[in-house]
Symmetry: C2
Subunit: 453 residues, 2 copies
């Protein structure tokens, strides 16, 4: 809240950098949090960013770099040599942040940077972390933690904590392992502070603890930490040995990315893109769904083509094509969004597909009646054709109910076959509903005009 | 990860409850985490839930209740008397969780429950918390924290921590205040453990700390905690006095709700609804956007009505109405989603509206050329009318470019006037693009048929 990047501050920063006045630059950055400096650097040219980074301590610079947006960071890092990256940015970071940064570099540069790291333990930890699959608990965890054996006293544990805790930013718990490095339990710092100094750890640790396997999916870790309100969770390998820990701040990004991913799919974006990405990247994320929509539109054209003769006789039928198509799309998107979010939240209930479709049918029926009534009143007043009036309202009802059931069913079915239900939302649902809606509309129209004329 | 609620477990649970066998019920729930029991209760009838809650300790029952979905929780609580609620569920909770639960009850019941609380300090804290506006930092914070004065030693601080920490689940820091209760600094537990026992707190506390005002918006607190990687943040009043603390687990819900809210608006849902909500609630969330779409469709009908004569002459013009309308909608939704997410993430850059529109124009131009080319090839092969072929492709290009610019501009403009930019996504953008797209399409058609015939 305290810091806000204004246009004035940005242009003042650019001026100061251009002036090259060391004292002013230091004044500018000295009181700022690394995350704030990252926010400024996000708006700067690479040369300007380098000036700021040059005036920071290595610890400060590495924190600024680790807070930066991936794309901007990569551009900046590519302007440094591997040796500079190792000394200036990596050495002072915790292993998980270091691995995140290195991961984006190309393989050759990555290896060079690692070869320049002086702390061999850190280098080993980073290499370990880089070996885990993207999207696994291993890729999310950090190696820094305080680990003690179970056969020691509280006094000795505090002594070891002091020794091990030196460079760690945050410690929430101490992990207790046996001689084989297998995780036995957790001791919160609070407990360590309030416990009798002479107690044996084995008598006071919490052994009934939650942990995750190193191969677990990051989204599963995220939902577990949310469900059980965990601030940190230990990560174990297949043998139960403690290999790292995941903290809630790493998981917050996973939670947000996951929620955003559903939104992106619903909006017809096939990749995670930002407005600052390249034109090529943005186009690549957008064109697949557009082409799908295009193919749907062409199918729609063929459906209407079947009714060419009807349109020639009753051109007013064409007026309501967009209305029928749009309403099918809108209802389908609403229905599928409710299901997709329910699945993402685990709030959907286990009562099977049929009760859900029945409930959706009730909702759809109300919506359909309201919408059909409004259009009917409009058409009875403003349209000369009674056949058209009835056709539009009947078709609208049919389309709304169909679209609602379809929009509910498809994501549930996808989920059952372990396909991401969010794929069903947005353009896909809209397109299918468009085509079927048109068919329903014109079929009802042909019947109506047949009856009434 | 360990626990998964299967259909088998659910039906077994229902059987055990129906049998009334105390031993089996206790066996079932003894090894489960309160969050897991909540998951089971979510699927049970109220009477069944009451049996489970009856067999839990008061501490266990209150944790189960606090993990439950709001709607289900309210139904269950309404089956208990105020005295039972106070004794069984509220007394053992921290103030923020207690306030969350009470908030949903009606005012009379809320007051009665509070009047039955035996711990007057807790009752006072809850009343305080209930007085804050929903969506403020105050409504999010808890009152439980460890607070010490600055003129004491580390040894004394540890002694006070032991006294104050008794019932607190998690402690990450000690807050240090002056005689006027104004927040001076923070001491992490780690620092308390590693510091020299005789140091004065004033010499080792971190005074350069981040805090939030009690009236701050919850979403601002959330983005601040994310930005600075905070696990807990102190809350101060207008005079700088410490009044509470917000922990990251409370904020995770805000972050997720915020991301979901954008998705909901984009999907045409005006309220946060779940598939388990009542038919009436779901309908109320859906119908406003549907009626907006309906009005848009009626306008669309009027636009096409202007071109009735053209359609009678060239009915094939009607074939591509859905394609043009749908593509405008799809492109508009994509564009606005990228902007809305960028604004939510602060990743959008400060380079003003014009450069963003220019970039969007480039992306749209590529998309438009690709899509127009595909349709042109299709029409040249399958359609007899050259005029139609050119019309569809030209209109498609115009519509895609217009929709992209419009979809980018509207959320940026809304943001500027401090209206939620997510309002611009979904049905609104789709509807406006539909109408304008149709007008563009038929206007181009009239020109083309004029030229080519």
């Amino acid at each position: 809240m305290q810091f806000e990047l204004t246009k004035e501050l940005l242009s003042k920063t650019k001026e100061i950098i251009a002036s090259g006045d060391e004292k002013l630059i230091l004044e500018l950055i000295n009181d700022l949090h690394p995350a704030d400096i990252s926010e400024i650097i996000f708006e700067l040219e690479i040369d300007e960013a380098r000036v700021i980074l040059h005036h920071l301590t290595a610890k400060g610079a590495s924190e600024v770099i680790s807070h930066l947006d991936d794309d901007v960071r990569l551009d900046i890092l590519n302007s440094y040599t591997p040796l500079e990256i190792a000394e200036k940015f990596i050495e002072y970071l915790e292993s998980d942040d270091a691995a995140d940064i290195l991961q984006d570099l190309d393989d050759k540069k990555k290896e060079e940077v690692i070869s320049y790291l002086e702390d061999l333990e850190q280098a080993g930890q980073i290499v370990d972390l880089l070996s885990y699959d993207d999207g696994s608990a291993g890729s999310l965890m950090g190696k820094e933690l305080v680990k003690v054996y179970d056969n020691i006293t509280v006094t000795e544990a505090v002594r070891q904590l002091r020794k091990q805790a030196g460079e760690l930013d945050n410690i929430y718990s101490i992990y207790v392992v046996d001689k084989m490095e297998r995780l036995l339990g957790i001791l919160s710092l609070k407990k360590l502070l309030v416990a009798d100094q002479r107690s044996l750890l084995s008598s006071i640790i919490k052994t009934d603890i939650l942990s995750v396997k190193v191969s677990a999916k990051d989204v599963d870790v995220a939902s577990m930490m949310q469900k059980y309100d965990l601030v940190a969770v230990p990560v174990i390998d297949e043998l139960g040995r403690l290999v790292g820990r995941i903290t809630i701040d790493d998981v917050v990004d996973v939670i947000r990315d996951e929620a955003e991913k559903d939104y992106q799919l619903a909006s017809g974006l096939s990749e995670n893109v930002e407005s600052s990405d390249s034109i090529w990247l943005i186009t690549r994320a957008r064109i697949p769904w557009l082409i799908l929509g295009l193919i749907g539109g062409i199918f729609g054209a063929r459906v209407i083509g079947v009714f060419e003769y009807d349109i020639q006789l009753y051109p007013e039928m064409a007026f309501f094509i967009p209305l029928v198509a749009a309403m099918g799309g809108n209802v389908g998107v609403q229905s599928s969004a409710i299901v997709v979010q329910g699945l993402a939240n685990n709030s959907i209930g286990m009562d099977g597909i049929l009760p859900k479709l029945l409930k959706e049918f009730s909702v759809a029926l109300i919506n359909a009646l309201v919408c059909a009534a409004i259009v009917l009143v409009y058409n009875l007043i403003f349209s000369d054709s009674l056949a058209l009036s009835y056709t539009v309202s009947l078709a609208l009802m049919a389309v709304i109910i169909f679209a609602a059931l379809f929009g509910t069913f498809i994501p549930l079915a996808l989920q059952k076959y372990e396909i991401d239900p969010a794929l069903a939302t947005g353009p896909f649902i809209t397109t299918v509903n468009d085509i079927l809606g048109l068919f329903i509309y014109f079929s009802i129209g042909r019947l109506m005009y047949g009856f009434l004329s």
